[in-house]
């Protein structure tokens, strides 16, 4: 992004000062025909250049609104202008090009539907909402297609952070003696922003041309339509995590423009992996896995554990397997639920933790109440609102009655049958093999490959280990990193949840772009009252441990949204924002949590770093999971009732 910025500086320091005769003969390419052939639509990639910042603006009616609200989940062309501008290759150029784009939108319904143009004034003193209204008035007779909005800000105070985050340097022009003269000097740049508020291209004066813009937009639309399909996979072949998507990927569901991106069942083809080999030789960046002396890893145990993990019969009503909260293609957690939902839709009060790299976890569950995977298994099996089995004996007896497991336990455990111990040992053995690393970061940091990590992620790492202080808890070692201190901390998330004042009305999303404000009283009539959650205190009974939760490892963090113990933060950016604010203040707030003063660019870099932690082998592990048999109730199973004397009403 910086390189681009410099390039545009070199190309286009369009100072808005004295008009000279040279300027017309020297007018920008945007006024004429494109001097070069355009690449084929969809044949190139437009990677995100960072986040398009938000800010407070005034629309042409003088109503205070957020910039993102103006963007309204469409593709957006954003130009900074001022109405007293006089440089031909400055603001008038952006007007000219926007006009050309508008004309194209009139002819092309898809463009008209998906794109919006926004001109934002950087001269709030002169450009009042009334002036902006007069500007937009001039399109009153130009047809509805091709929305072009003129907006301004209430004052320099609102404007400054917006200019800063878009790298728009605006200076009052001065003459030789330093006296102010008419106009501002600014580098003309027009931003193409996608519905997820990411900047996808920045046009300087030499590249601002309507045909190029439309080509870029068509390319983005084409690629968006292909998302989840192979075309996109080909464009980002190096990126791991291609299989790590929910079957029906719901990101952006709240926007009216949402269209389904269901994955073809075909792309869920499984391929068994050598899990034992992976576990015995963990990928770059991980230490050897700790294995209990009484439960050495064997192929038989791993295979048995894998069958049990995907077996729905392990729940009271034969519907719910482990994999339904720890969904393989959703980072072995659940991307679509803030807090888990158990059998019969019963609410669970915390977010499903990822199973990736649980082999290394010294503490299990968010409050760290369990110490080994072998024992942890019984938590969800017996929880009333998870798999809801009434007792240990019930589970064991049921498995003993399922023909699929005849002899399996005995073969894996040297003659020992189904027991509380062997069941835990089998499932733990499978979980232990889900080790994932060799990410772009590992190849750069531990592998010495200088090309492996993007510049943004490298800057993000410097912040992570330095200024932002993340690594104090999410620790790294000299030859490996688990990104956790295996300890528990109070960040204030739990405190806020416990103490938070609940709003009278809650927005409920009922369809893409359709939100209903529902009264709290109505929700309470039908909803379960939110359960209390005091974190570690529930385990230790030590009042100082209130609202402490475990530090999760950060490997594959890009695949494991939503975040925090209650899934209250949806994106990595929100997590970074949360820590930048210094968490939520409370008397037990961990002293390591403090406001960080990160700039927008620094936050984007941190997110880029977190995204670089996706393991190189996740597709292997997910494809292996797809290959696992799914245990479903059938004739002869202990709870099979069809065709028996039991009358089902």
């Amino acid at each position: 992004m910086y390189r681009l910025f410099l390039a545009s500086l070199l190309f286009a320091v369009t100072s808005v000062s004295a008009l000279s005769a040279a300027q017309l003969s020297d007018s920008a390419p945007g006024y004429g025909k494109l001097g070069y052939p355009l690449p084929e639509i969809g044949s190139y990639a437009l990677p995100s250049l960072g986040r398009a910042a938000d800010g407070e603006i005034l629309d042409s009616s003088g109503v205070r609104r957020s910039l993102h609200e103006i963007f309204s989940d469409r593709y957006v062309l954003l130009a900074f202008i001022y109405s007293t501008c006089s440089d031909v290759n400055g603001c008038p150029l952006s007007s000219h090009v926007f006009y050309k784009v508008k004309s194209a939108m009139k002819r092309d319904a898809e463009l008209a539907d998906r794109l919006k143009m926004v001109s934002l004034s950087f001269d709030p003193e002169n450009d009042t909402p009334e002036v902006m209204r007069l500007y937009s008035n001039n399109f009153r007779y130009a047809g509805k297609a091709g929305e072009w909005q003129f907006i301004t800000t209430a004052s320099q105070q609102q404007l400054r952070p917006i200019l800063q985050s878009y790298n728009q340097v605006v200076q009052q022009e001065v003459d030789d003696k330093g006296n102010p003269v008419v106009g501002y000097s600014h580098v003309l740049r027009v931003f193409l922003i996608d519905p997820e508020k990411r900047i996808r291209n920045i046009y300087s004066v030499d590249f601002l041309h309507h045909e190029l813009i439309i080509n870029d937009l068509k390319t983005l639309l084409k690629q968006q339509a292909a998302q989840g399909r192979m075309i996109q996979a080909a464009a980002r072949i190096d990126e791991p995590g291609q299989l790590s998507k929910p079957g029906d990927y719901k990101q952006g569901y709240e926007a009216e423009s949402y269209t389904t991106r269901s994955l073809d069942l075909e792309s869920r083809r499984g391929e068994a992996a050598d899990l034992l080999g992976i576990a015995n030789n963990p990928p770059l960046g991980l230490p050897p896995i700790p294995v209990p002396a009484d439960n050495p890893l064997t192929r038989e145990k791993i295979e048995l554990g894998r069958r049990l993990f995907f077996d729905r019969r392990l729940s009271l009503n034969d519907t719910f397997s482990c994999a339904m909260c720890h969904v393989p293609e959703q980072g072995f957690t659940s991307n679509e639920l803030a807090m888990a939902v158990g059998i019969e839709g019963r609410s669970v009060r915390r977010n499903s933790p990822s199973v990736y790299n649980s082999a290394y976890a010294a503490l299990l569950f968010h409050d760290g109440r369990e110490e080994s995977l072998e024992q942890q298994v019984w938590g969800p099996l017996l929880a009333r609102n998870e798999m809801a089995n009434p007792s240990v004996g019930y589970v064991l007896q049921k498995i003993r009655g399922i023909a699929d497991y005849d002899g399996s336990f005995e073969a894996a455990f040297d003659g020992r049958g189904v027991s509380m111990e062997t069941l835990g040992m089998a499932i733990a053995s499978y979980q232990r093999t889900l080790v994932s690393a060799d990410s772009a970061f590992d190849r750069w940091y531990y592998g010495g490959d200088k090309q492996a990590l993007s510049a943004a992620a490298q800057r993000g790492f410097d912040l992570f280990a330095g200024k932002a202080g993340c690594a104090s808890c999410h620790r790294l070692g000299d030859d490996h990193a688990l990104f956790t201190d295996n300890d528990l901390h109070n960040t204030g998330i739990g405190y806020r949840e416990s103490m938070g004042i609940v709003p009278e009305k809650q927005p409920i999303l009922v369809a893409p772009g359709v939100v209903l404000e529902v009264d709290r009283a109505v929700i309470e009539q039908v909803g379960e009252p939110p359960p209390t959650d005091v974190g570690r205190y529930e385990v230790t009974q030590n009042p100082n441990d209130r609202w402490k939760y475990k530090t999760p490892g950060l490997r594959n963090v890009a695949l494991t949204a939503p975040y925090m113990h209650n899934g209250s933060l949806g994106t990595l950016r929100e997590v970074v924002d949360f820590y930048d604010r210094g968490g939520v203040s409370n008397e037990l707030l961990d002293p390591l949590i403090r406001p960080l003063g990160l700039s927008d660019a620094e936050k984007a870099d941190l997110v880029a770093f977190l995204q670089s932690l996706t393991g190189g082998n996740v597709d292997t592990l997910v494809a292996d999971a797809f290959a696992a048999p799914v245990g479903d109730v059938g004739e002869g199973d202990p709870s099979w009732v069809h065709g028996t004397e039991v009358e089902v009403r």
Binding site: S17, A18, L19, S20, A21, Q23, L24, I81, S83, T84, C85, S86, V88, C91, P92, L93, S94, S95, H96, Y99, E125, N126, T128, E130, V131, L134, Y135, N137, N138, F139, R140, Y141, A142, Q172, D175, P180, V181, V182, G183
Partner: protein
């Protein structure tokens, strides 16, 4: 505002045109008095009932003003019989050099339907102020000077109210459509008021 303070404001505006931001209370647009290119007094209000296209510039202007005036002229010519309902105005920001005679020569060169307007420095400054036009003399080494100025075109409706601002850079076709749209709108209003009577 008292006349004295108004004068002070104008003085400041003339000395430090940019250090002063337009007072919020000052209304945008409105009537003004100048001298036309025949040396006769001119008042915007005398054009009520017609659509006015107002542009600011100066005759020594090397590029933007001729381009804009040529566009304006093309639009007037394309209007055919409707042209009677439209008046193009060119207000000089350089009254020192642009006398009525100079202006007459200049605007006639583009289109005989255009009217050039000038006045004293103060009168011109007042109009510019009303329409939020920024301008400033830019001295050259040879003693010559140019004038930097903003380059919008203002559409004033039949009641004399500022109705739209057209930024420089849009093609003449857009201006033509906008003018025709406004004229059609005016026709509707006329029809309504006549049936109302």
């Amino acid at each position: 505002m008292s006349p004295g303070r108004r004068f002070l404001g104008l003085l400041l505006a003339a000395v430090l045109p940019l250090a002063v931001s337009w007072a919020d209370s000052e209304e945008l647009g409105g009537n003004f008095r100048l001298t036309d290119h025949n040396g006769r007094p001119f008042e915007l209000d005398q054009l009520k009932g017609r659509l006015v296209l107002l542009f600011f510039g100066y005759t020594y202007c090397p590029d933007i003003c001729p381009t804009e005036l040529a566009n304006l002229s093309a639009v007037l010519n394309a209007l055919d019989d409707q042209a009677e309902r439209v008046q193009g105005l060119f207000v000089t920001l350089d009254p020192g050099r642009d006398t009525p005679e100079v202006l007459q020569d200049y605007v006639r060169h583009f289109n005989r339907r255009l009217v050039g307007l000038t006045g004293s420095e103060e009168e011109v400054a007042q109009v510019a102020r009303q329409y939020r036009v920024s301008y400033q003399r830019h001295e050259r080494e040879n003693g010559d000077y140019s004038i930097d100025h903003s380059v919008n075109l203002y559409l004033i409706d039949a009641q004399g109210a500022l109705s739209a601002v057209v930024p420089y850079g849009l093609p003449p076709q857009h201006l033509l459509e906008t003018v025709q749209g406004h004229l059609a709108g005016m026709a509707d209003t006329d029809a309504l008021s006549s049936t109302g009577r």
